[in-house]
Amino acid sequence: MTSSLHKLVWPFAALCVLLIFNAFANPSFYSLEFIDGSWSGLLVVVIERASIVLLLSLGMTLVIATAGVDLSVGAVMAVAGSLAAVLLTEYEVPLVPTLLITLATCTLAGAWNGFLVSIIGIQPIVATLILMVAGRGIAQLLTDGNPVSVKDYDGFLFIGSGTFLGIPFTIIIAIAVAVLTAIVVRCTAIGLFIESVGGNETASRYAGLSVRLVRFFVYAFTGLCAGIAGIIYTSDITRAEANNAGLYLELDAILAVVIGGTALSGGRFSLAGSIIGALIIQTLTTTIIITQINGQNIPSEYNLVVKAIVVLVVCLLQSEALRRMITGKGVDG
């Protein structure tokens, strides 16, 4: 336990630095108001925006822990949004069946990835690349290439913009999924299985573990998470956009996981780290947007440059080779 806590120190410190920076540079960051029965303020907005990447990163953490990666989550988000919108508007399916069908489809999409990776034995990057390319095409096919508005469906809109006990419903969903995931993974042996598959596949197989089943499960679960994220996104912007929904979010999700201290090579993982990672990414984005230098906003173009530097610094912090270089033990080869 102590070692996993120790790993969280760096990401947590990074988040704190960002938050402290905002306390001095942007006092408005912390202003919270209770309006119309719900909390509002930048801090709430940051957490709400981070929810989507957070949801994606939960599944992604487990996939990466098995030494895999899932590039298709953004495309699956687009499929989820398009499918839900089409079911609601065109086929006039009630809300609950719509959500269930959508989530089942996305789980199936994830299971497809799992099938390719675990049964056929294709490298995760390539296996999920297929759905990443084709998925967006399928999403466009569903909506005929046009945005589908869901403005008139209050129940559906509640998911992305409603509040419950004064807290945006999106945040509640994200927390609920995160807690459920943590319980399933940490209170049962599943988490151990995942870490063991990522740590040493051969040893796991000799220990009698069904490596295939574990792999299959994590990809299906990631599909489900992407489905939830897609529904939230579509509800939030009140229309299904097959072209833009989830675009590049697979990269943000992978980033959140890596920032959170889970190595791409698999093995030990930290859900809490990934959650902090997702919060760091969103806090950083918001901070860049609102920070003023000499009374002028930083141009939004610098957002990507800063992100690049953050990715690099995080990678370097985790580099074994760099650590050995600094401690003077030298690198082999």
């Binding site: 990666v69 056929i120 294709i122 390539v126 297929i130 084709a134 610098y302 690049a308 690099l312």
Partner: protein
């Protein structure tokens, strides 16, 4: 462990798919076989082709480069900046842009090698950085390039073979392809790339310069992508910071469809040419198909299905040989 024989079947399959696709398209659509359509198949896909050539070397060595699309955008913007804003002549600006692309790749390769970091993450950072720099360099996101004689000359440049007129992007693409085949199969660098991708530890034990070659591979990929950017700028007569979004995926797809194994060590550069042309044909088919309403999203689904077919085929062949 990988025997050289298993390379052949996939590239044969690629060639069959290409011939079938081309034959069907040529029979079905009037004008598909025309000289204009044939040459534009090369010129329209030149930037993608260049990026895919670099990507082939990266993937052959067992790595991946996610930054190529962003580097294309950055190179086109940088070239525009040099020519329009700083009034450099094109014959000075283009070598500078190409050198910068190679330098960009060199830095990524050095970081990957020196700190033993996953190529996926380092080139992801490279992608953010290149796209970000492209946006920072130009506020308007698009930069029209004109007013330089040597640049205009490049834009108007064509080589004719009978009724086939190839413009500069097509010529550069084909020349780069020939050069890449020679480099991959008849130089020490090419053999090192295959050796590293086949088994890095063996390559180290054989005394091959693994570190140097790794850096060179990413430098080559950066150079190829920058060339793609210059070619794009010449074809469009402008620089564009938002061009080539997700092009890295198409490049990877072209390499995979071309028969190169993503685990490295096995594949042909020439296969990538077929891969690029297959993608090119699939992309233009919706424009010809009028009777059935064939939309552009079918392109993506078709590419996905092709990818799947080739990957499963490769997998089966690999299993058979074991």
């Amino acid at each position: 462990m990988r025997l050289p024989q298993i390379k052949h079947p996939t590239i044969v399959a690629t060639a069959i798919v290409f011939s079938l696709l081309y034959a069907i398209a040529a029979i079905r659509y009037n004008g598909f076989f025309s000289p204009i359509q044939t040459t534009s198949l090369f010129s329209d896909n030149a930037a993608l082709g260049l990026a895919a050539i670099g990507m082939t070397f990266v993937i052959l060595s067992g790595g991946i480069d996610l930054s190529v699309g962003a580097v294309i955008a950055l190179a086109s913007i940088f070239l525009g900046k040099c020519i329009v804003q700083w009034e450099w002549p094109a014959y000075l600006a283009i070598p500078l842009v190409l050198a910068s692309g190679a330098a960009f790749g060199t830095v990524m390769g050095t970081i990957i090698r020196l700190f033993r970091l996953p190529p996926f993450l380092v080139t992801l950072a490279g992608m953010f950085l290149a796209r970000g720099l492209a946006l920072v360099l130009t506020k308007e996101k698009r930069l029209s390039i004109r007013g330089d004689d040597s640049f205009d000359w490049l834009v108007d440049f064509t080589v004719g073979f009978g009724r086939f007129e190839f413009n500069l992007p097509a010529v550069v693409f084909m020349a780069a392809m020939v050069a890449a085949v020679i480099v991959a199969h008849w130089t020490r660098f090419g053999r090192n790339v295959y050796a590293i991708g086949g088994n890095e530890q063996s390559a180290v034990l054989m005394g091959l310069p693994v570190g140097k070659t790794t850096v060179q591979i990413y430098a080559l990929s950066g150079l190829c992508a920058a060339t793609g950017g210059v070619i794009y700028a010449i074809g469009a007569e402008s620089g564009d910071a938002s061009v080539a979004q997700l092009l890295e995926l198409d490049a990877i797809a072209a390499v995979v469809i071309g028969g190169t194994l993503l685990s490295g060590g096995v594949g042909y550069v020439a296969g990538t040419l077929l891969g690029v042309l297959i993608l090119g044909i699939i992309t233009v088919i919706p424009a010809f198909e009028e009777a059935v309403k064939l939309n552009s999203w079918w392109t993506k689904i078709a590419i996905g299905i092709l990818l799947l077919a080739f990957i499963v085929l490769q997998r089966l062949l690999q299993r058979q040989k074991r």
